[in-house]
Amino acid sequence: MNAFGYLRRYWQLYALLVFPLLYFIIFKYGPMYGIVIAFKDFNFFQGINGSKWIGLDAFREVFAMGDFYKTLRNTIMLNFLDLLVSFPAPLIVAIMLYELKSAWFKKLSQTILYIPHFISWVIIGGIVYQVFGTQSGMINNIITSLGFEAVPFLTNKADWLVTYLIVGVWQSAGWGTIIYLAALTGINRELFEAADVDGAGRVRKIWSITLPSLKPTIVTLLIISLGNMIAIGFERPYVIGNTAVREYSDVLSTFVYRVGIESGQYTLATVVGLFQAVVGLLFVLGANYASKKLADQSIL
């Protein structure tokens, strides 16, 4: 097919892309010149263009900071644990919901499970303290009334990791189910009927019908979370974290906030952001490549 024929057949596809691309160019690539702040001694009043070039000085400064490596390590650690625990959680809950017989309970529980997503982290922080506190937290009240020693859920590093994960699952699992539930609507019911004829059990059906139909969604979400391995939200570690466990709760985002934003050193913040972006892009490309090889699916 020649170029003209191709265009005549497919021009509508390109026409559809015009506005989205314009959007990306204007609103995403437009401000991207701000990245040069990483290579400048940023002065608020001389602006991005007027500030002095400093080459890689700011990178050297960041890479010489002990806190940078500590927070990088913690970021990867927390994200990795999340990948093991918080990533599968919504998938499991979605399947559990899908398997529910009672339609009204299904609807009701879906609606309630996603409530935690709507509670702001500031408020969650206060609640976490009331539930997990050592002195008079609800859980420890029960533990001590049974005659056991109180567990320092928030002040002991290892226990804190557990708390961090539990809160994460609690906050995001219900919300995360929605996308899987949407995918599950696409399953052909006849497959189940056929399986019933074969005498397959429930677990068997989940394994060989439900899960495979979710595979594209799972793979897509997995690739994206791998790309976000060294990006981490500010609020969850900040709100659940505390002074006693800073060795684990201090992550790149809190580091950037403290060193870059609060101290008005935008150059340092931009350096860390750029570092995260490059690594993130490499990770996502790697994950995409691996998934193409292993699962014959890719997002690029």
Binding site: F19, F45, T134
Partner: protein
């Protein structure tokens, strides 16, 4: 610069193009009406700059938005904004506009406004010393020296030399610091009824306090069922600072200058002799379970307040008048247990038998005029107006007979006034920016204004607390030139400082030394040493 502008206008055009075509006419209508608005105000400002004689000049003033505007008014239009326009704006042919900045994001938003170069208000302010230093150092502020002499005689007189000294950077006046009316910070409070019950005397020294705390723990006079917290603690400065500073040894002037670390706007004693003793004491208290067990989690004093008001706490330190507000700590405590009595007390003692505690720098916010402002003269005139006559008094107190009545020269607020009358002053602290607190002539009168603002039964104790917070205080040390390392490492080290307190308190006594050593090493290598070096050099240069 030219290139930049062309870049911008290109974007503007393409942006409108996109907007235009995305959603058709609805969008177009909204967008163009919006453009008209912006264009309108922009041209008004421009012409005001060129021909100020004929048209009213527009003066933009920052105001903190705390989201607490009462019904019927907004942060940009309320009793006080009208008061300013009527009494200052209109007579001087100036249109005063207020630009709200979210309170908790003030520094961030100010940074972005400054960096964008336009739409910056003519008067901006911050409490944050490093932010002021940064703006001054980067050359973004108007030199106010001559302007103040020429247009602000009342203002200059009101603020005074001592206050103005804080607005200097490299010998030039880049900010007008607001004057603070009450410099005291902290007092301590003890359950008088517990002491009475155990027939204990009021503790006068740290040692006696320790014995008292022990007695509270062992005898549980409040019958809390073992939940008693003899010493209420949190990780906010009001709780730990009075304790820690009392352990700091008397120091020479040189030590004060070189070993103190100013992080953010406060002085920190991390390197001063005696700091370790303070930590050791806290470690002892913690291990003997005399102190709030979860204090390291209590960033905002919520837990402490709960414990105090439910009658679990025997003794605690706090911002001097905080417990006494209507519906505050003390009131809630008495609702829960009517017999509870809270007494203000000054107890932490140093080697010399004094009760040393920090006081505020004598300033409030730094008021600044950005260099990009074309209305610096109007801005000074505005602040000068506020400082003249009884304008400040009226902004802080409202209308006599409606909002307050005068009693021995002290305005007593009328708490029974109708809501809309009381609401007039809801943000006076953020509008009357040249002063922090009421100014009635001298420090004693100033605190009296606070005292009469408290519920009647607590006024006596409030007066006592306010006297305590002002006694044996020491002033923050000050170099005439800011320490750059402090600006750079300040926020990091503040966190590390708290980490030191929490970690060293919570370890077993035998691990204390090891923990202390390693945390201090981390502190020094994360910027503490750099600050120390710079301060040592600066001290030498100053002498």
């Amino acid at each position: 610069m030219v290139q930049k502008r062309r870049h911008a206008s290109f974007k503007k055009r393409t942006g409108q193009l996109v907007a235009l075509s995305i959603a058709g006419s609805v969008l177009l209508a909204a967008c163009s009406s919006n453009n008209a608005d912006n264009g309108g105000s922009a041209s008004a400002t421009a012409s005001a700059g060129s021909s100020a004689k004929t048209k009213a000049a527009t003066l933009k003033v920052e105001v903190f938005d705390r989201g607490n505007s009462p019904t019927g008014s907004s942060i940009t239009k309320n009793y006080l904004t009208t008061f300013v326009q009527d009494n200052f704006g209109t007579p001087n042919n100036i249109n005063v506009q207020y630009v709200p900045v979210p309170r908790s994001e003030e520094v961030n938003k100010l940074n972005v406004l400054m960096a964008s170069g336009t739409d910056v208000p003519d008067v901006v302010f911050t409490y944050d010393t490093p932010t002021f230093n940064r703006y001054a150092q980067q050359g973004g502020l108007t030199d106010l020296g001559e302007l103040l002499d020429q247009y602000g005689p009342n203002l200059k007189n009101f603020l005074g030399e001592d206050t103005l000294a804080y607005g200097q950077y490299d010998g030039k006046l880049y900010a007008l610091p607001a004057r603070r009316s009450h410099l005291g910070k902290y007092a301590s409070f003890i359950r008088q009824d517990w002491l009475d019950k155990l027939s204990l005397p009021m503790p006068q020294t740290t040692d006696e306090l320790y014995a008292t705390l022990k007695a509270f723990k062992d005898k549980d006079p409040g019958q809390t069922g073992g939940k008693v917290i003899p010493l209420g603690m949190s990780i906010a400065p009001a709780q730990y600072e009075p304790l820690i500073w009392s352990f700091i040894k008397p120091t020479s002037e040189e030590q004060r200058y070189t070993l103190t670390q100013q992080l953010g706007s406060n002085d920190f004693p991390t390197l001063l002799p005696g700091f370790k003793d303070a930590l050791q004491f806290m470690n002892k208290l913690y291990n003997e379970k005399l102190i709030s067990p979860d204090f390291g989690l209590d960033k905002d004093k919520t837990k402490l307040s709960q414990n105090v008001s439910s009658g679990l706490v025997g003794f605690f330190s706090e911002d001097d008048m905080n417990p006494f507000y209507a519906d505050g700590l003390y009131a809630t405590l008495q609702k829960n247990m009517p017999d509870a009595k809270l007494a203000a007390v000054d107890v932490y003692t140093n080697e010399e038998g004094k009760h040393p505690k920090p006081e505020y720098t004598p300033i409030g916010m730094y008021l600044m005029i950005p260099k990009s402002s074309k209305n610096a003269v109007e801005a000074i005139k505005y602040l000068d107006w506020m400082a003249s006559g009884d304008n400040l008094f009226k902004m802080q107190n409202g209308v006599e007979g409606e909002n307050y009545t005068l009693k021995d020269g002290t305005p007593v607020m009328n708490t029974n006034a109708a809501e809309e009358i009381k609401n007039r002053l809801y943000n006076q602290g953020d509008m009357a920016i040249i002063s922090n607190g009421k100014q009635l002539g001298d420090a004693d009168k100033n605190i009296e204004a606070y005292v009469v603002g408290m519920p009647q039964p607590y006024q006596e104790e409030t007066r006592k607390a306010l006297t305590i917070s002002r006694s044996d205080t020491f002033k923050p040390v000050r170099f005439d030139k800011p320490i750059e390392a402090e600006a750079k490492y300040g926020t990091t080290l503040q966190d590390k400082f708290k980490e030191i307190i929490v970690k060293t308190a919570m370890v077993k006594p035998e691990q204390f030394d090891g923990t202390y050593e390693s945390m201090m090493k981390d502190y020094l290598s994360s910027g503490g040493q750099a600050i120390l070096d710079e301060r040592t050099a600066a001290y030498k240069a100053m002498k």
